[in-house]
């Protein structure tokens, strides 16, 4: 039995669900989805800039370039590849741009609930 013939659908589904909830648990990923939904296409650097300001908005601190670079690094290496894998965004590694993808309705429902909690 090789990989191509293996009955993996159920396993894949469960893995996919785990990935979905895992990624939605990440503030950077959620804020990325919210922000990108309002934009046609956004540059990775600009996305990192905005998320840095947004996530620290009520912290009382002044963020630095180091903060922004760390967030950009996480977006590039972790969150955008994961969101792109799930089809929630389209991440162009070459151009370093992010655009809207397809978010299933049940995922959107979870996002909306989390949005209420995050932004209230």
């Amino acid at each position: 039995m090789n990989e191509e013939t293996a009955p993996r659908t159920a396993f894949e589904d469960r893995t996919r669900s785990s990935r979905v909830f895992s990624i939605l648990d990440e503030p950077l990923a959620r804020y990325t989805l919210w922000y990108v939904q309002n934009e046609s296409e956004v540059a990775l650097t600009h996305l990192a800039d905005v998320l840095t300001g947004w996530l620290h908005e009520d912290s009382g601190v002044v963020t630095t370039v180091d903060d922004r670079d760390r967030i950009r690094l996480l977006l590039y290496h972790v969150h955008l590849p994961a969101l792109d894998y799930l089809g929630f965004v389209r991440f162009d590694h070459t151009e370093k741009t992010v655009s809207r993808g397809e978010i299933p309705s049940h995922v959107q429902a979870v996002l909306d609930v989390l949005r209420e909690a995050d932004l209230e």
């Binding site: 648990d25 990440e26 503030p27 950077l28 919210w34 922000y35 939904q37 309002n38 650097t45 990192a48 800039d49 905005v50 840095t52 300001g53 947004w54 996530l55 620290h56 908005e57 009520d58 912290s59 009382g60 601190v61 002044v62 963020t63 630095t64 370039v65 180091d66 903060d67 922004r68 670079d69 760390r70 967030i71 690094l73 996480l74 590039y76 290496h77 972790v78 590849p81 932004l119």
Partner: protein, 327 residues
């Protein structure tokens, strides 16, 4: 970029944790200036630049230290005015500062025209960014001349910084904000039309910093005798606090004692009469140095800059001490 980063044991909500990538560890670091253990400034051993004249216009080959007379608040003689360089390269200096123009990118669902108005006379461009509908977050991204990210902060914090207390520092409570961190990216801010109230507010901001630190020296210039007369009680109080001292410079004659730690230097040098300046040497701590230098171009309208750049403040203090004393 290389392989994906690992995020060991970090809370999902903690965006400030340590992240480890192959070959590198990324930690939150501060871009603020670190305190130094160097002693308080004791005056330069060699010729120092003349920053006030440099920034606001000067000739490169100015004379050395000029004659001056300092009274120790008991009055005394007054020497002839020193030779002053022409104020002709102002535009060149301004262009250099203009080249470092920053941009404030405001994110808010509410009308922020007040902030736009507030910066109308400053060397800053204000633009607005957009967030998704329904988001009530308010923050500002500060960008450099090339549009690069310099820093960000919440609008509440930003407003607090932009509203320096007008009242004297000794009735203020401690603020939570660390000024050195906040103002790191607002060093050398140019302003072009401060009124007297704004000048006093910024002056109080600098005095407040000195008051909190409780040591070091304030260097303050008064355009005329009347301006100093109105502030003598302020500096008497400041200089009586902790180990603070005040070196006051006035273009008119002065023979009134103000306090033990207050010295008044009377000089007819052009720049003393021309500029309103307040410099705090940080009391041995570079991160506490700050200053304001401004020229009254039209009646009641001031043009100049304020700075939290330790090196620039040190240069300005060095210039004052070399030129007018104390040695």
């Amino acid at each position: 970029m290389g392989a994906p980063c690992q995020r060991p044991g970090a809370s999902h909500r903690d965006t400030r944790a340590t992240y480890q990538c192959p070959g590198a560890t990324y930690q939150r670091t501060s871009a603020t200036h670190q305190p130094t253990d160097s002693p308080p400034f004791r005056g330069p051993a060699t010729r120092v630049p003349n920053p006030i004249q440099y920034v606001l216009g000067s000739t490169p080959d100015r004379p050395g230290p000029v004659p001056h007379h300092r009274s120790d608040a008991t009055g005394g003689r007054r020497l002839a005015a020193p030779v002053q360089p022409a104020m002709k390269s102002l535009q060149q200096a301004l262009s250099e500062i203009e080249a470092h123009r920053k941009t404030l990118e405001i994110y808010s669902a509410n009308d922020q025209s007040a902030i736009v108005d507030q910066f109308a006379t400053r060397n800053v461009t204000v633009v607005t960014g957009s967030l998704p509908p329904g988001v009530d977050a308010e923050f500002v991204i500060v960008r450099g001349p090339e549009g690069e990210f310099v820093g960000s902060l919440g609008l509440d914090t930003f407003r607090a910084i932009l509203s320096p207390a007008v009242h004297p520092p000794w009735v203020l409570t401690e603020r939570e904000t660390a000024y050195s961190e906040v103002f790191d990216f607002l060093d050398d801010t140019l302003f072009s039309s401060y009124d007297r109230r704004q000048m006093l507010a910024t002056t109080r901001e600098i005095e407040e910093r000195a008051w909190r630190r409780g040591e070091g020296t304030l260097y303050v210039g008064f355009q005329n005798r009347r301006a100093l007369e109105q502030q003598t009680n302020v500096y008497e109080t400041l200089a009586a606090h902790g180990n603070l001292a005040a070196e006051l410079y006035v273009s008119d004659e002065w023979d009134v004692a103000i306090g033990e730690s207050v010295r008044v230097t009377s000089s007819s040098a052009t720049e003393i009469g021309q500029f309103w300046f307040v410099l705090y040497d940080g009391g041995g701590s570079a991160i506490h140095r700050c200053g304001l230098v401004a020229e009254e171009r039209d009646a009641g309208r001031y043009y100049g800059f304020w700075t939290y750049d330790p090196a620039l403040v040190e240069e300005l203090v060095g210039h004052l001490r070399t030129t007018y004393g104390p040695e």
